[in-house]
Amino acid sequence: MDPGSPLRCVRDDPHISGVIKLAVALACLVVQPAPAQAQIKSGTEFLSPEMRRQQADETRNPAFFWVEQGRELFSRKPSPDGQACASCHAEPQQSLRGAATHYPQVDAATGKLLNLEGRIEQCRVERQGQPAFGYESSELLAMTAYLGSLSRGLPVDVKTDGAAKPYYEAGKAFFERRQGQLNLSCQQCHDGLVGQKLRGDTVSHGAGTGYPAYRLEWNDVGSLHRRLRACSLGVRATQFDYGSPEYLALELYLAGRARGLPVETPGMRR
């Protein structure tokens, strides 16, 4: 079981860059996690020291290939007379720094819950007039990994009240409901069994703050919803579609639960 150590905002890992440490330290001054959430730790805390080092090292974390591809796509015109993302979002390192920390969020125009993937697709279809990339396409993963990486080290800061409240409540109910032939809830594993071994895995809080992440099991980068589908399959429950309302609400609940933890995209996981 988790020995109950308090949330450590700045990790002692010497391989985490000073910039990230500083950013996280500053973030800690502003964000006071609620007591119930103070125990939640990032998935990184449960990785082997070697994998943590690899995740932090841009030259050894394979997911940075996707970040690079995303950076390139971001400034490329989708057609000769079209507009690149960069033509609306100049200097993304500044203008979009922190953007990913606020997703999922309720889209003001439609009232629908959008995650980062959903917002990227919306820009692509409505503003660029291009066909959607499609969930789990290498382009959408690259773009999401890139935009996520611009928030690396900044605390998750989603809204869970107001218009977001019904989505958050739906996600919470999903998280707490037993499901599948094995009749287990997300909560039973990701609250009750944290730190225990489930075969080769050490069960974490299921924070999801490293996604899209490179998973050794996939030998690939995948979205958070791909990870959720793996957990659903694990208990022999219905796997909801990528981008489904069920997983979007769950994503918001997870993000609300992880509020104050640093974004670690692109992460590395087993």
């Binding site: 409901r177 037993r178 499901q179 599948g180 032939q181 094995l182 009749n183 287990l184 039973q188 009750g192 069994l193 225990q196 071994k197 489930l198 075969r199 080769g200 659903s232 399959l233 022999r236 429950a237 219905t238 796997q239």
Partner: protein, 136 residues
């Protein structure tokens, strides 16, 4: 605890006495060697995802449930049967999955819907194997 009869049509009925199901499901006779294989099998029983078995050389065994070594000393066959069939009859909060139940489950994946995780014969196989584990 009283007596409880499964109402699922397809499942063999059983009666709970105290904390046990004393009679074999469907009157079937278990085969311990098949039971041992089921406990290990990553598709069917997949018990070692949560429990440590008796073979220390098996990689990546779970730490979630009690170790299975010596379980036959702690529990008799009827007690083991109940814990496999539906451990929530004893502990509503249990993490131990119900292996012989099809009702009151939510969002079961289509491939598994309406079927118990283990058949009556497989339950008896695993019961006979676990009941034989009398050393640590």
């Amino acid at each position: 605890m009283g007596t409880y009869s499964s109402t699922a049509l397809a499942l063999e009925p059983y009666a709970v006495v105290g904390d046990a199901i004393p009679r074999p499901l469907g009157g079937l006779v278990g085969n311990p060697a098949r039971g041992a294989a089921l406990v290990r099998d990553r598709e069917r029983g997949n018990c070692l995802i949560c429990h440590r078995g008796t073979d220390a050389s098996e990689p990546f065994q779970g730490t979630i449930g009690p170790p299975l070594a010596g379980v036959g000393l702690r529990l008799d066959a009827g007690q083991i049967r109940l814990r496999l069939v539906d451990a929530s009859l004893l502990n509503p909060q249990t993490v131990m999955p119900p292996y012989f139940r099809t009702e009151n489950l939510h969002d079961v994946a289509p491939a598994y819907r309406g079927k118990p995780a283990l058949s009556a014969q497989e339950i008896e196989d695993v019961v006979s194997y676990l009941a034989s584990l009398k050393t640590f």
